[in-house]
């Protein structure tokens, strides 16, 4: 996980190579089309971006997940990481994960988050961008509620 050089440390903490890779080549593109898929969507009225997340549950587990929409690098990478992180998990696990992500985005030190998701920690330094990272998680929440 290296950062582009010649940038302020906080900026390179946000624009890590990992995030840019997810942005360039997002995972989980496309809301699954199967019957029973639940979709949640969030818009950011300020920048005009929108992300929707679709999940297919198998009992208590997330069998399928994917996202659609337009977003900046942070919004897109967050959605992409989300799909990787939640696939195969139980709803309870995912809710705990969402809570941990939210805390991380508020700048708190969190335990238990694994893998690529941790790369979003740098966003906390940019309050105006936290909303971007949060969008997919809120959309997922809507999908699980609805």
């Amino acid at each position: 996980m290296t950062a582009p050089s010649g940038l302020p440390a906080s900026l390179s903490a946000m624009y890590q190579e990992l995030i840019l890779q997810h942005y360039r080549a997002p995972h989980g593109r496309g809301v699954p089309a199967a019957p029973g898929v639940r979709v949640g969507a969030r818009k950011n009225p300020l920048c005009g971006d929108a992300i929707s997340v679709g999940v297919l549950l198998d009992g208590d587990r997330i069998a399928e997940v994917g996202f659609d929409g337009q977003g900046c690098s942070i919004a897109t990478a967050s959605a992409s990481m989300l799909t990787e992180a939640v696939r195969g998990r139980s709803v309870a696990e995912v809710k705990a994960m969402a809570t941990a992500v939210e805390a991380m985005l508020r700048g708190e030190a969190v335990e238990g988050l694994e893998g690529d998701l941790r790369a979003l920690a740098g966003v906390a330094r940019y309050p105006q961008r936290v909303g971007c990272a949060r969008m997919a998680w809120l959309a997922l929440g809507d999908a699980l509620e609805g």
């Binding site: 582009p4 840019l20 920048c47 337009q70 942070i74």
Partner: protein, 422 residues
């Protein structure tokens, strides 16, 4: 920040000084490395405006119109004087036809309710354009919805100017309102007002409402000769304080209006079950007026008058040309809007592979403040096929170094995003 070789290659014109001394603007003076390129959202304030506010509060603070003592007279005079000054700046002889509001948004809601609700009926037509800011879009959309009138939207040319042929095609004798922006905040297009007026007057009895939020700050405006019915503007975009703006109207149109907000100052006589109304402009200014900010606004327009609005326009055009040329040289960069001559100092663009929101954050790290988003013009964004653009906008305190910093930071942003292999 030092200029990169890339910049030199692009031919930075470092000779373009600011029109107004940066030292006049305390925020800019305190942050020499700040490149404020978001004046279309709100402008920075010169010291004279802050002084005018302080001076009002420390020498003339009382409730205007209501007191028989000298301090109240001073407040009343200061407020009336501000009205005279601002009306003159916008080329209106009859100062009483200037109604102060919080800004353009309140002004448009006022016109839509005070004139619109009294005159627009089911089956009538309201014409707006795809270029409008939400402030000149949603009030008319909702008026149409409420009254059963038809909302007609003038579409745009390929370079985001109002399509005058389409306008002409939409106008009918049932058209009651034509509400158009003087200058687009999103892409900078300047409306050919004389053309629009001619077309409208030829075919319909409609009132013409101009959204001058980006006109008044950047172009000379002569309301009495424009030929429109209402002209709305915001003080905070033309060096004035927040919380004040207004709308000019012809006396004849004002007299066709119903009061919209009710309360002190706007009444003549309050009986138990009905009331009569005060004269212009008070009839449309309910409650304690924002005299302090009106006085601040008057100081702002005096400052602009001293600069000369023709010079303001020339200055912005020069910056725009230079920036346009430099940005056009960047790979993957798309600029929206017509050629600089038909634009105010607004540069709206996208950069391939870098989302505008990311651009804004990276530019901010270089001290360059630009706006990223829909610019309160979602109908336009839909037509552009994008959710957002990046927008840099200039004003009297902008200079060549701001343009250079913009270009430099854009190159950096490209580098960051290019650094990742696909």
């Amino acid at each position: 920040m030092t200029a990169t070789p890339v910049l030199d290659a692009l031919g930075a014109d470092s000779s373009l000084a600011s029109l107004a001394p940066r030292a006049d603007f305390p925020l800019l003076a305190a942050q020499p490395a700040l490149h404020y390129l978001d004046s279309a959202a709100t402008s920075q304030k010169p010291q004279v405006v802050l002084d005018a506010l302080t001076n009002f509060y420390t020498t003339a603070n009382a409730n205007p119109h209501r007191g028989a003592y000298a301090l109240a007279a001073a407040a009343t005079d200061a407020y009336a004087g501000a009205r005279e000054t601002v009306a003159r700046f916008l080329g209106a002889k009859d100062a009483d036809t200037l109604v102060f509001t919080r800004g353009t948004t309140e002004a448009m809601n006022l016109v839509a309710n005070a004139w619109g609700a009294a005159h627009v009926r089911e089956g009538d037509e309201i014409v707006i354009t795809a270029l409008e800011h939400h402030a000149n879009f949603v009030p008319w959309q909702q008026l149409a919805k409420r009254t059963g009138a038809h909302l007609r939207i003038v579409e745009l040319t390929a370079d985001q100017r109002i399509d005058l042929d389409h306008l002409a095609a939409l106008l009918t004798p049932r058209t009651r309102v034509v509400a158009i922006t003087h200058v687009s905040n999103a892409v900078g297009s300047i409306t050919p007002v004389a053309e629009v007026v001619r077309l409208v007057r030829e075919t319909s009895p409609a009132i013409i409402v101009l959204d001058g939020a980006q006109g008044a700050p950047h172009l000379p405006v002569a309301f009495d000769t424009l030929g429109v019915d209402f002209y709305a503007f915001s003080g905070h975009k033309l060096l004035g304080p927040m919380g004040i703006g207004g709308v000019l109207g012809t006396r004849a149109r004002w007299l066709e209006c119903q009061p919209w907000q009710f309360g002190g100052d706007m009444i003549e006589w309050v009986n138990d079950h009905d009331s009569t109304w005060n004269v212009l402009p008070h009839r449309f200014e309910a409650g304690t007026p924002n005299a302090a900010d009106a006085v601040g606004l008057a100081a702002a327009v005096r400052y602009l008058e001293a600069l000369d609005m023709r010079a303001v326009r020339e200055h912005e055009l020069a910056l725009l040309r230079s920036a346009h040329e430099k940005l056009a040289g960047l790979d993957g960069l798309t600029i929206y809007g017509p050629p600089p001559e038909q634009r105010s100092g607004v540069l709206s663009f996208t950069l391939a592979d870098v989302h505008p929101h990311d651009l804004a954050t990276i530019l901010d790290q270089h001290g360059v403040c630009i706006r990223a988003g829909h610019h309160c013009a979602q109908p336009l964004m839909r037509r552009l096929g994008t959710s957002a653009t990046a927008r840099a906008s200039f004003y009297v305190y902008s200079d060549a170094s701001d343009v250079d910093a913009l270009v430099h930071a854009l190159v950096e942003a490209q580098r960051i995003f290019a650094s990742v292999a696909d």
